[in-house]
C-alpha cells in the first residue's frame, strides 16, 4: 500500500517540477561533494559551471550547493533543486549515485547527469573522463625521466578509476624503461594536503625521483620542489604555478565542453540518457603543456602519443598484457573493452603490492 501511495506523491511532485520548468531560461543545477574552492575536483566542476554560464549568457541560469555529504542529505538537496524548476542537474561525486537514481525516478521531466557512476535511467546519464589516457603519457615521461628507476605514486581511494591510472602509467613507464619500479601509497582520501605532503616526502626519501599523484592538492609538487631533482605532474587543475619544474605536465579536468553540450541538448530537446566516457579527443581530459624540463625528444614522443590517443589510433591498454599474477589478460594487439576497464580491480604484471581490500 505504501508503494502505491509513494508513487502517487512522486507523480504529483514530478508534475509540480515540470510545471515550473517551462519558463524561458534553462536552469542547470550542480551538486558538489566539496567546497567550490577546494583547488581540486569540485573546483574543476565549478569552473565548468562558470564556463557554461559564460557560454550561454542570459539564456542559462546555474545554481549549485557545495559541501553536500555523500549520505542522507544528498537526496534532499537534489529534490529541492528539481522542485525549484531546475531542468538539468549534474551530481558530481560517485557517492551520489543511488540518490540521483532515486530522485530521478520522482522527476521524469528533469534530466540528471551523474559523474563517475555506472547506473543509468531514462532521465539519468553518466559521464566520466578517461584519465588513464593522460596517465599513459605521464607514465611515458616518468619512465624516460627517472634516474633512480623508482616512480612514486600517491593513490587516493581504491576504486577502478585509480587502479586504471596506476596500471596505465606503469605499462607505459615500463615500456620505455624495463627496470622501472612503482611505489604506491594509498591515503584513502581524495584530498588531504598534509597527508599528501607526508606521502610525497616518504616516496622521495625512498628514492623516487618522479611523483605521480591521483590526489588533488599541490602539496606533492611543493614537496618535490623542496627536495630538488624530483619531478611531478599537475592533477585536476594545471598547477602551472609549479612549472617548469617540478611540474612538467598535467592532467586537467575540463568539464566545460561536456556541460555546454549537454545543456545545449536539453535546450534543443535532443537530450538522451547516455554513458559518456570521454578522453583526450573531446578535451574532457586536458594534457597540460609539457615544459622544457623534459628533453625535446621525450616531449616529442609524449606529444605524439597524445595525438595518437586523441585520433583513436592508439589505446593505452593494448596487448600483450598479463595480470599481476601472470595470467594472460590481453593478447597481442588486443584492446581492453570498456566493461573490464570500468570495473578494473587488478594490477597488471610487474606492479608489486596489493590493492587494499
Amino acid at each position: 500500500m505504501f508503494k502505491t501511495l509513494l508513487a502517487t506523491t512522486a507523480l504529483a511532485l514530478g508534475l509540480a517540477g515540470a510545471a515550473l520548468a517551462d519558463d524561458e531560461k534553462t536552469k542547470v543545477g550542480f551538486v558538489y561533494v566539496g567546497p567550490v574552492n577546494d583547488g581540486g575536483w569540485t573546483q574543476g566542476h565549478d569552473h565548468g559551471r562558470k564556463m557554461l554560464e559564460e557560454h550561454f549568457g542570459d539564456t542559462v541560469e546555474t545554481v549549485f550547493v557545495e559541501n553536500v555529504p555523500e549520505g542522507p542529505d544528498a537526496e534532499r538537496v537534489m529534490t529541492q533543486m528539481a522542485l525549484t524548476g531546475t531542468d538539468l542537474i549534474f551530481t558530481t561525486s560517485f557517492g551520489f549515485m543511488d540518490p540521483t537514481i532515486n530522485v530521478a525516478e520522482k522527476f521524469p521531466d528533469v534530466k540528471f547527469e551523474h559523474a563517475t557512476g555506472y547506473k543509468t535511467a531514462d532521465n539519468v546519464g553518466t559521464y566520466s573522463a578517461r584519465f588513464y589516457e593522460g596517465r599513459a603519457i605521464q607514465g611515458h615521461i616518468a619512465g624516460k625521466m627517472t634516474k633512480s628507476n623508482i616512480v612514486g605514486y600517491i593513490a587516493s581511494v581504491p576504486i577502478p578509476e585509480v587502479v586504471r591510472g596506476i596500471n596505465s602509467a606503469y605499462i607505459h613507464a615500463q615500456k620505455v624503461n624495463p627496470d622501472v619500479e612503482f611505489k604506491v601509497i594509498w591515503i584513502f582520501e581524495w584530498m588531504n594536503p598534509a597527508k599528501e605532503a607526508d606521502a610525497a616526502k616518504a616516496l622521495i626519501e625512498q628514492g623516487a625521483d618522479v611523483i605521480l599523484q591521483h590526489t588533488d592538492s599541490t602539496a606533492p609538487l611543493a614537496a618535490a620542489q623542496e627536495a630538488g631533482g624530483v619531478i611531478g605532474f599537475g592533477q585536476a587543475s594545471d598547477m602551472y604555478e609549479y612549472a617548469p619544474s617540478p611540474r612538467v605536465s598535467s592532467i586537467i579536468d575540463n568539464w566545460a565542453p561536456y556541460y555546454i553540450a549537454r545543456t545545449q541538448a536539453v535546450m534543443d530537446g535532443t537530450w538522451e540518457s547516455a554513458m559518456t566516457w570521454d578522453g583526450i579527443s573531446t578535451g574532457m581530459v586536458g594534457i597540460g603543456e609539457i615544459t622544457d624540463a623534459v628533453p625535446a625528444d621525450v616531449k616529442a614522443e609524449a606529444e605524439a602519443m597524445r595525438d595518437e590517443i586523441a585520433a583513436g589510433t592508439y589505446h593505452p591498454f593494448t596487448g600483450p598484457l598479463n595480470k599481476q599474477d601472470g595470467t594472460p589478460w590481453l593478447a597481442e594487439g588486443e584492446v581492453a573493452d570498456d566493461g573490464t576497464l570500468a570495473g578494473m580491480s587488478f594490477f597488471v604484471e610487474g606492479l608489486t603490492g596489493d590493492i587494499p581490500q
Partner: protein, 362 residues
C-alpha cells in the same frame, strides 16, 4: 555598575525566553553578515527560516524533510541530555551512531539474501546494542577507574571512524559494487529497508523513535524517581550522595541510554535516508546533536523544537545556497553564531543582572 547575582533556581521565564531571543539576535547578526557579503539580508533570512516551511513551490516537500533531518538529531540529543543533566559528559555520540549503523547493517547483511519479517527488527536491536556497547566502554571505565568520560568517548569516535572505513572498504563492501567502496544499498533491500511510513510525511521509523524518546524522557524526568536522581546529581553530586543516589548506576544508565539511542539513530539512517554504509556515512550528527541538546536547554520538549530549528537552518541553508548563492561556509558561521548567542544568554537564566548606579553603591 553591573552586578551578577546567582539565582537560587534557574529562571523559568528566561529559560523559555532566551532561545527565542537568541534566534532573534542571530537573525539580526546573520542579516548583518549577509548584508556585508552583498546579499539582501531580509531575503536571506526569509529563505532560511520561512521558505522551507511556507514556500508554495517546495514547502510541501521540505516540511516533511524537516522531520527526516531532525529525527536522528532529536533521538541522539534526548539520550545525551539525560547525561548532561546529571553532569555526565558523553561527547562521543558520533562514534555510537557509527557503531549502531555498523552493527545493524552487519547483522542484516550477514543474513542476505534471506527475506523474512524479523530481519529489520533484528537489525534495530543490533543497532541499539552496538551503540549501547560502545557507550559502555567510557561508562565502565568511569565507574571502575573514574576515567574522564569526555575524553574516552571522544577518542572512541576516531576508533569508530576507522572501523567504518574498513567496513566500507572490505568486510561490508558490496561484492556487486563494480569495485567501489561502500556496502549494498540497504534501503533497496525490502527486508532491511526503513521506508517512509506514510507517503509525503517524511515519517520513518527513526522519526517515530525520536518522538517516542521525547515522550519517554519527559515522563522519566518529571514523573520518575530516576529523573529526580539525574537532576539532583547534576545540581550537586554531594547532595545526591547523601540522598542515596547510586552514582555508578546512574552513569551506566545515562551513558547506556545515550549510546543505545545514538545507535538506533545510526541504524535508522543507514537503512533509510543514507541507504548504505560508506566511508563518509557519518555526517556529524553525533556532534550536531550536542548543539541540539543545549539549544533545547536539555529539556525533552525543548530538544524537539531545537532539533526542528536546526534542521530548518540546514534545509534553509541549502536553499539559500542555490537560490541566493550564499556559500555554505556562511551557513556554518550562522549556526555557530546561533549556538554562541544562546550560550551567552545562559547568564540571564542562572543570574540576576542588577544595574546599580555608582552613587547608590557608595
Amino acid at each position: 555598575m553591573i552586578t551578577l547575582i546567582k539565582r537560587p533556581q534557574p529562571s523559568k521565564l528566561w529559560t523559555f525566553a532566551t532561545p527565542v531571543l537568541a534566534v532573534a539576535i542571530t537573525m539580526v547578526l546573520g542579516g548583518l553578515l549577509f548584508a556585508l557579503m552583498g546579499k539582501d539580508p531580509f531575503e536571506a533570512i526569509r529563505t532560511i527560516f520561512w521558505d522551507p516551511l511556507f514556500h508554495e513551490q517546495f514547502a510541501a516537500y521540505s516540511r516533511p524533510q524537516l522531520l527526516v533531518k531532525a529525527g536522528p538529531l532529536i533521538l541522539i540529543a534526548i539520550g545525551l541530555s539525560l547525561g548532561f543533566k546529571a553532569g555526565i559528559w558523553n561527547i562521543g555520540a558520533e562514534g555510537q551512531y557509527i557503531m549502531g549503523a555498523l552493527a545493524g547493517a552487519a547483522t542484516g547483511l550477514a543474513l542476505y539474501p534471506m527475506d523474512a519479517w524479523f530481519i529489520f527488527p533484528l537489525m534495530v536491536i543490533a543497532g541499539a546494542l552496538g551503540g549501547f556497547l560502545w557507550a559502555m566502554i567510557p561508562a565502565l571505565l568511569k565507574t571502575r577507574f573514574n576515567t574522564n568520560e569526555i575524553l574516552v568517548s571522544l577518542m572512541l569516535v576516531y576508533v569508530a571512524e576507522q572501523l567504518l572505513a574498513s567496513a566500507s572498504l572490505s568486510w561490508l563492501r558490496n561484492p556487486e559494487g563494480n569495485g567501489f567502496p561502500g556496502s549494498r544499498n540497504l534501503s533497496k533491500i525490502e527486508a532491511m529497508s526503513n521506508p517512509e511510513l506514510f507517503a509525503g510525511t517524511g515519517v520513518h521509523w527513526g522519526v517515530v523513535a525520536a518522538l517516542a524518546a521525547v515522550i519517554a524522557a519527559y515522563v522519566l524526568i518529571n514523573k520518575h524517581m530516576l529523573g529526580f536522581q539525574i537532576k539532583l546529581s547534576g545540581e550537586s553530586s554531594r547532595a545526591a550522595g547523601f540522598a542515596g543516589v547510586n552514582s555508578a548506576r546512574l552513569i551506566l544508565f545515562c551513558l547506556g541510554t545515550a549510546g543505545a539511542l545514538a545507535g538506533l539513530a545510526g541504524l535508522f539512517e543507514v537503512t533509510g535516508p543514507a541507504g548504505q554504509v560508506s566511508i563518509d556515512f557519518n555526517a556529524g550528527y553525533g556532534f550536531t546533536a550536542i548543539i541540539v541538546a543545549f539549544l533545547g536547554r536539555l529539556h525533552p520538549i525543548g530538544i524537539l523544537f531545537a532539533g526542528l530549528l536546526l534542521a530548518l537552518t540546514f534545509i534553509g541553508g541549502e536553499l539559500a545556497q542555490f537560490m541566493l548563492g550564499l556559500p555554505s561556509a556562511s551557513i556554518q558561521v550562522f549556526q555557530g553564531m546561533l549556538l554562541m548567542t544562546l550560550l551567552a544568554m545562559d547568564i540571564f537564566v542562572n543570574y540576576r543582572v542588577v544595574w546599580t548606579s555608582r552613587e547608590v553603591a557608595q
